[in-house]
Symmetry: C2
């Protein structure tokens, strides 16, 4: 392989189904607003039957981040598992069309779990722009260490891992393999905590994994306080920062905080006229920061790139940038 | 069946794949801008591979119209053919979620053509909002007279037929069956010419079908002049109006003309700030007019409802209304 990448992202390959919903609908379906629940096939079918007419678009947290890095003009690769079905082909098409390197080994019908379809995330968006996600992982769940190719991981400056992959055993093994390969090749390892429930389920394992493998952590306010079981945001950020080179923590409309080697940088959120759909905000923030880090830019610039990318994605439906993030960053004089 | 419907729409059940494109891309792919080409599986795969990252959303001309009628608060049914695959389920979900009655007989793998997938329309949208469509009909092409159920057709005031169905022999037979059932039940029969190429291919058959079966015709400027092989718009409209009770002809930004029983009504286009994607404009115009006719509203009101629906759909990506057309019509004091 003659490629070299700024970032390789490893995550759940998911197609999003996005539909408008009311708060009453969330309540009736017992969906925790703003959260992410994992659901089985039957529950997914039942929920989908009740949802409004929707739009399908490629998603998946790390996949969105890879797409964002490509939109900044960076070089990104992606590792994730799809099925050999229409939605798997849609996922592959969309991520490669935006310029991300992705050579999937689609789940074959003869493999164990070969009957699983490409993963789907049912996203109900309330009028305030909040998204409530119910994920049927399907084939994404069947990622194994064999899907993590050494050439791709070693060709990237940073390997970026999605915390959601801590759930299935084989996928977590794939995740650990990617981290090991990156470590051996002298690459940086980044992790996003992904979700407060993931943190709740695997707190000790995540702390252990961060201690032993991780250089850069992304989290939001809820996730970082859950990780250290504290209600004190600053205390949680500093506990995290003591464990890693770079801790980047988002706070929604209040912007973000990056602590890098003990130095704290506060970044304001970009002003926008209207929040339409917050899906992908954290993923695009990570894209901006990772792109900046790979290019060796100052930490304040990295944070600002993250803020610009997050602002772009929440101003429209869908989890990936529609405008060129490169053009936005150039207009802002950042690159 | 205890239902009664304002309109039953019969058409190609299609999922749209919408992606941004440049004029240079259209030229390189020899795609006639603003047109609709039918393509085979291999050509569809090759074109899709070259397109930008996209969004999938339920479409199909008559399906869009049925969705629009439901959005106005009307009762609509739909007849069309999907495959037993993920996109078929997406199509069924979306049209029923908006309130349209649709009980498909999905193509079974054991039937002839059972290997066809749900139809797809690859839509390249240029920066001027024009859409250029390449349609792989797939299962939609496999509509047969058996899919046209008498109970549904006879329960509707108006049966609305999509001209695209003139292409496949069996589908055209389904189309003729629907028209016959409607006629026998004393219902009105509406037809949209759909596409200038359809008109070019089947000019004589279309004129004959209109003469023998049709009460209401929808067309745009290009289609109506193609039908009568003239460059004179007014002459074409009057030739059409002489054949049917109601001729409704759209002229893009110049609005539309309805000639009903010899009486001409001119309707201005609704002013909008920016055209994002013209996909579905004609379909939503038809939805407004058909809804108005079913409710017995004056012709100027019918046209205005069409103009409002068309304006809503071209102000966003995707061929079906996102706002409530009922609310828009109420705000405008039309219903």
């Amino acid at each position: 392989m003659s490629h070299s990448f700024d970032v390789v992202a490893v995550g759940n390959a998911i197609v999003d189904v996005i539909a408008p919903a009311t708060d009453a609908f969330l309540a009736a379906e017992s969906l925790p607003k703003g959260g992410m629940s994992l659901i089985a096939t039957t529950a997914a079918d039942a929920l989908y039957a009740k949802m409004s007419a929707g739009v399908e678009t490629s998603g998946g947290s790390a996949g969105n981040t890879a797409a964002g890095i490509a939109s900044f003009g960076g070089s990104a690769a992606y590792i994730g598992k799809v099925a050999a079905d229409v939605l798997g082909e849609v996922f592959r098409h969309d991520i490669t069309a935006i310029g991300v390197h992705f050579e999937p080994r689609p789940l074959s019908p003869t493999e164990p779990s070969g009957d699983l379809g490409t993963g789907r995330c049912l996203i109900n968006v309330t009028p305030d722009g909040q998204r409530t996600m119910s994920t049927y992982l399907g084939a994404a769940n069947a990622l194994t260490p064999a899907d993590v190719t050494a050439e791709v991981v070693q060709a990237a400056q940073i390997v970026y891992l999605e915390g959601y992959l801590f759930d299935p055993t084989e996928a977590r093994a794939a995740f650990v393999k990617a981290a090991g390969l990156a470590r051996d090749a002298g690459r940086k390892i980044a992790l996003t905590l992904s979700d407060a429930f993931v943190v709740g389920r695997y707190r000790a394992e995540l702390v252990d994994f961060i201690d032993s493998h991780v250089d850069i952590v992304f989290a939001n306010e809820v996730e970082v306080t859950a990780l250290f079981e504290t209600e004190d945001f600053d205390a949680a950020v500093y506990q995290l920062a003591a464990k890693v080179e770079i801790a980047a923590v988002t706070r929604g409309a209040e912007g973000s905080v990056i602590v890098a080697n003990g130095q704290r940088t506060e970044i304001a959120a970009e002003p926008i006229t209207a929040v339409l759909d917050t899906t992908g905000a954290g993923d695009q923030y990570a894209a901006g920061v990772l792109f900046g880090l790979a290019k060796g830019l100052p930490m304040a610039t990295c944070g600002k790139l993250g803020a610009i990318a997050a602002a772009e994605v929440i101003s429209h439906y869908g989890p990936r940038p529609q405008a060129s993030l490169k053009a936005l960053a150039q207009t802002a004089g950042l690159i």
